[in-house]
Structure formats: C-alpha cells, structure tokens
C-alpha cells in the first residue's frame, strides 16, 4: 500500500466531533447513572491485555482479535469486550469480595477484520456484569436493567428477545443422542441463521419423521410466554426442561418488573454455544438494522480466572444507540466576554466569576474598532434575546469589558 494521505486513518475507526461526543457522553452518563441506581459500580480495565489470558477467554473469535507483540515478544490483544477483563478482575483484585458482585462499565472495544456490514474496528460498549448469582432472579434483573438502560439512553421503541442455549442443547441430545457431529452441524446452521441449510440437513438425517418434525418445529418457537409451555411439551430431556423452566421463571420475574411488553421469547435465537451457558438475549430498536444490545449467562468463564462462579450480564452497543436516539437541542449556553488590551485583567476576572457560577464563557481580545461594532451587536442581542455569531461560534450572551465606557 502507498503511504497514507495525511487525513487518512486505519479502516474501521472514527473521529467523533463535538456534537457527536456530546450525544455519546449524554447517553453514557444517563445509562451509567441508571446502572448505578440499580447498585452497579463502575470499573475500568486496561485497553490492552494478554492474549493468553483475556484474549483466549473472550467470546471473540481468534482472527477478530487485534494482536500486538510487547517488548518481550508476548502477544497482547486490544480488548474485544469488557466481560473477560472484568472476569479477570473478579478472580484477582476482587477475589476476596463476597458474591454477588454488581459491576458496570463503559469503554471502547476493538475488533479486527470485520467483513460484515456496518461493523467497526473500534466502538463503545456500556454494560453490566452480575457475578455470583445463578438464579432466574439474577437473569431477570439483568434483562430488566437492560430495558431500563435502553429507556435511559432514550431509545424510542425496542424489543428484547430471550432464548436459552440449554434448551437446544438438551433437545439435540435427546433427539440425536451421542451424534455430536450432527448436533454441531445443526447448531452451526442456526448460528449462521441458515434455516434453509438447517432443514436440508434434517432431511438428510437418518431419524424418525416425528423427530424431524419436532426439530423443524423449533424454528417457529418465537413469541410470548405461550412459547415456553409449547417448548415444555416438545422435549422430555431433563436439561431442556430445566432450561425452559428457568426461562419461565425469568418471564415471571419480568412480569413482576412490569416490563414484559418489551420482551419476546425466541428459542431460535442462540448466541455462541461455546461461551453462553444459559439464557441469552438481544435488543432490537425499530429503524435500526442491527441489534442495540446483547447479553446472557456465561457460567464457565470465571473458572478460567481461578474463581468459578455463575455470571450474567449484557452490553449496550452505545455507538449504534447513537443512531436511533433523537438529537437533543444543543442547550449549552455560551457567553462571549470581549475586551480591549487595557482591560484584560478586568475581563478575565469577569469571566472567572461567570464560570464559577456555571456559565460557559469564551473570552476574546478585540481592537477598539471591533469593540465599537460589537456594541451594535450588544444592543441587538439585548433587544431580540437571540443568539448571535462571533468568529464562527454562536453565543447567547455578550459582555463587553471597556473601561472607558463603563461595563456591560
């Protein structure tokens, strides 16, 4: 590749200009405040981690990790999510802290070589992890908090779809006992969202017609609570039944939270089987083609950091949420303090007083002539109370500091 032009940057990364940052910070602040009100304490972890610890443990596939070498030749990764770093902290710095732990975070995460549409190499996530609680109440708390967070962020209309990896695992084990290769192939089809491939594969399988119908039927297991009762009839496998009962209890808890209008059950929705161990969920906003949040239960991760514990959590895709949240009117009011050379000390003092009282103040050194023309602006501003422009920036208030003519 030729040498990049001065304005170029690596593929998949973005600059955020002031209005975008204001919006991002507002969403982040509202969401983190919401999480705090639910008792989740924010933590920060480093941007880089060891490949052999956090890199290997993360749910991100190997080729999508940004890898570097440090001075000693050890492989370093840019964090691809916040869950694995938090698991590391829970297993080390917080190892004596009693469970359950409620932690929240906001940070940038990195993914290399994203070829699918609309994916970035660096993006922001805001989320929580609830560690050390395996109950349906914990799962429901996390889902309810995801709903509250999306509302706090200002997402106008959204739905959360909940699934459970235990159901499909149990159902496949029951219908195809010991045929793990075939089970994997079917799961891979579902993971690739390839329902045609799934049905084709079933057609070729040596199984009874009723089993085939049953397995085809799971593609329709989407809807409200009735899906749970339907699924209970479908499989007599103990772990599938346990999964559905767990899901029913989550649903009941969500009803108790009064948020079931936002929730769908979708047993075809499956996360990464090797990572998630229980319920999984995704949030969808209308008018956006990509999910706005995802989460689930991952009871095996903490063991990799020496402190086995059940855990559940979610991440909001804050960068995506920016797209669906309406822009708020820029309510930052600005004051311009204009002064001539002789009155500098007085003007800067005036600015300090105003800043102390919470005003946003910009100071400008002007010539006597410019000051005279600003007097006209001052009168107009006073009369109309409308914002005015000075050197390309909009102000709401004008203060002229001019010793000779007295102060504004």
């Amino acid at each position: 590749m030729s040498k990049p032009k001065v304005f170029e940057k690596p593929t998949g990364v973005k600059d955020y200009l002031p209005h975008a940052v204001a919006k991002l910070r507002r969403i982040e602040r509202n969401v983190l405040d919401c999480m705090q009100r639910w008792g989740y304490e924010q933590i920060m972890t480093p941007t880089i981690e060891y490949y052999d610890t956090v890199g290997v443990a993360s749910a991100t596939s190997d080729q999508k990790l940004f890898k570097l070498l440090n001075q000693k030749g050890t492989t370093i990764v840019l964090r691809s999510d916040m869950t694995a770093p938090i698991a590391r902290v829970v297993g080390s710095l917080l190892k004596d802290k009693q469970f359950p732990l409620r932690l929240s975070y906001h940070g940038n995460v990195f993914r290399a070589f994203e070829d699918k549409g609309g994916r970035e190499a660096e993006f922001f996530q805001t989320g929580v992890e609830l560690v050390g609680d395996a109950s349906p109440e914990a799962d429901a708390e996390v889902i309810a908090l995801a709903i509250a967070s999306l509302q706090a962020a200002g997402v106008p209309a959204f739905k959360i779809a909940i699934g459970h990896v235990g159901f499909l695992n149990g159902l496949f084990e029951e219908t195809l006992p010991g045929r793990s290769g075939e089970q994997e192939a079917l799961k891979e089809c579902l993971l690739q969202r390839d329902h045609v491939g799934y049905r084709d594969f079933l057609r070729k399988l040596v199984i009874g017609d009723s089993v085939r119908e049953e397995l085809e039927g799971i593609l329709r297991l989407r809807g409200g609570q009735e899906v749970c009762s339907h699924a209970l009839e479908l499989s007599s496998n103990a772990s599938a039944q346990a999964a559905i009962r767990h899901l029913c209890e989550i649903w009941d808890n969500l009803s108790a939270y009064g948020v079931q209008e936002h929730v769908l059950i979708d047993l075809t929705m499956i996360g990464d089987f090797s990572y998630y161990t229980g319920m999984t969920f995704e949030g969808y906003a209308s008018n956006l083609g990509f999910p706005v949040c995802s989460g689930g239960r991952y009871d095996n991760l903490l063991a990799q950091f020496g402190r086995p514990a059940p855990a559940t959590g979610f991440a909001l895709k804050t960068t995506r949420i920016m797209e669906v949240v309406p822009d708020e009117a820029d309510d930052a009011r600005r004051t311009l303090v204009a002064y001539v050379q002789d009155d500098k000390a007085e003007a800067l003092k005036e600015a300090t007083i105003r800043r102390t009282s919470g005003e946003t103040v910009v100071t400008a050194l002007v010539t006597g002539e410019q000051l005279d023309s600003l007097v006209g602006l001052e009168i107009a501003e006073y009369l109309t109370n409308r914002p005015f422009e000075f050197r390309g920036v909009e102000y709401d208030r004008l203060v002229l500091v001019n010793g000779k003519e007295g102060q504004a």
Binding site: A157, R193, V196, Y284, G289
Partner: protein, 211 residues
Amino acid sequence: MTEGILKVAMPKGRIYKQASKLFRQAGLPIPEDFDDSRKLIIPVPEANMEFIMAKPVDVPTYVEYGVADIGIVGKDVLMEENKDVYELLDLGIAKCRMSVIGLPDWKPVIHPRVATKYSNVASQYYREKGEQVEVIKLNGSIELAPLIGLADRIVDMVETGTTLRENGLVEMETLFQVTSRLIANRVSYRLKNTAIQELCDRLSTVIQVSV
C-alpha cells in the same frame, strides 16, 4: 410497537418475474404490470409491502443493513457475499448450478487461472480442494476468458447450458445447486415476526406444490 409495512428487496430482471409469480400464487396481490416497471421503489399497499428493486448482487446488502426487511436472492449471491442475514426459505425458483467450465480439450496447466464473477466462491472452492489457482475477477461475459486464453477455466452459473454449447465449452464439475432464497434482516425477523412468518407460511405451501 406496530409492525408497519414490509420492505422487500427484489432482484431486478430474471428472478423478479418468477418471484412475483410465486407471490401471486401464494395469494399476495402483486399487480402484474410491475413486472416491466422501471420504478425503483414500488408500493404494494394491497399486500402491505413495498418493493425495492435492486441489482440482485446488492439484495443481501440492503437486507443486512435493514433498509429492506426481507429480500429475494440467489444462493450464488448469498455464498459470494456472505452477509449476516437469516436465510429463511428455499423458494425453488430460478434453478441453476454453479459449475467449473472449460474447453473440451482442457489439460492441467502449470499456472492455472480461473476467471469468475464469484471470486470468493471460486477461491474457497479451490482452497478446500487444495488446488492452487489464480482467481481472476471479471464482471461479465465470463465465457470469453477460456476462449481467448485469459484463463484455462471459469467458475460460473449454468442454467440450460446453451451459452456454453454455442461457445464450444463444457461443464467440468458442479460446485452446488442454486435456487432463490428468502432472506431476512436480523432485527426485522424479530420486530416484524408476524408478517414475515405469515409470508413464509404462505410461500411454503406453494413451494411444496410446485416442487
């Protein structure tokens, strides 16, 4: 949250006529006079749909970004583009196959070159076979390549084989069978679940009849 109208990315040309016929068989009121329309966006209020007339190869892109809720596209394009979309139904229309094609007197060459519109499909096929070939991406008239010596073989879609015969080419291997598929956006699949499921169910009944 109301589901609203269903935005359907339709492939312009060959597949469109067969797809709209299938929709009509499934009982969806799609007027026939759209078949030759040059409009890019066609409202179909009778079916609570809106057709977005797209170049076939772009259909998965519209659906992946969610500007279309669902789309109809050939499996060839899906394999080549590898987008993150739901593949819901095999519509069984626009049947053809992806094949390796060459001159009848083809013999292995030292530096094999394969010309194709489907460079990802071709690369993956030869990688999996462990055969080293140089894949040359062309945008049309692929059959020219072996005739004028740009490549010794091509990977392309074969429907009837007429073009091949007329140009003295033969099919050497078949990669996979191709039919058109109904695809859906990840979010629409959940938020417009009712409408999409109903469409799938209606289409499934006519597909089974026609197969």
